[in-house]
Amino acid sequence: MSTDIDRQWTSRLRRSVVAKLPPDKLLPDTQPAYVASWIYVFGVTTMAALGVVIATGCILALDGPQWWHSSSLGHFVNSLHLWSVEIFFFAMVIHLWGKFAMAAWRGGRSLTWVTGAITFMVSILTAFTGYVSQTNFDSQWIATQAKDGINSTGGGAFFNVLNLGQMLMWHIVLLPIGAVLLTVLHVVMVRVKGVVPPIVETVELSA
């Protein structure tokens, strides 16, 4: 017998979320025995690096985009931001190689792969907008070079890499939101599906 409460949008949403991702799937305390390799730590490491990138970026934001040129503390925070980005890409690329080697898209996990690959692209774009927002020689050169590539696609008319204000907004607001949302989606999908089992060439129908 279904009550008014059962038919609520709210309770329906809760039921379907809990069915898809019960707490012990979201935060499991065990893993299948085959999860026994250092290669598994690179997804989490990428996430950790993303956290450090965002935290250091937030500190850089406190005093405005040009603070770091004139303050040695600011320059140090910029160094933290840069090196966490290098670690982020470093870990993400190893993660990608690892997931490829494991064919980790099997068993209905193709969207996990797809969101991962898109996150990679969004991360590259985020880093790029960061490079052109540096307000130094590097950003001048990168912007005047990159404009040709982007203009050739027609995109330059709307995404003007020579417009500092526009690039900074994309770098510190729009793209990080995109990258974080994609990461959340990616990781939630991993938890929903569980870690992909080892490759099996053939399946016996017996036993």
């Binding site: 026994a36 730590v41 190893i94």
Partner: protein, 60 residues
């Protein structure tokens, strides 16, 4: 070159980089090192024994 490289760089990278050239390929030593360390880390992650894999008990 750069304005005050500030708080404590122990190794000063603020000079023109070294580049390796082979046919059309050209790469800075810094980038090459990053890529080599990346590949080495990948290989290490594949071969290093994962802790907690205690003495394998017989199949359950």
């Amino acid at each position: 070159m750069a304005q005050g490289w500030g708080l404590g760089a122990l190794i000063n990278l603020n000079h023109y980089g070294h580049y390796l050239q082979w046919h059309v390929f050209s790469i800075s030593v810094a980038n090459l090192l990053v890529i080599i360390v990346m590949i080495a880390t990948f290989v290490a992650a594949l071969v290093a024994p994962f802790p907690g894999r205690r003495n394998r008990k017989g199949p359950q």
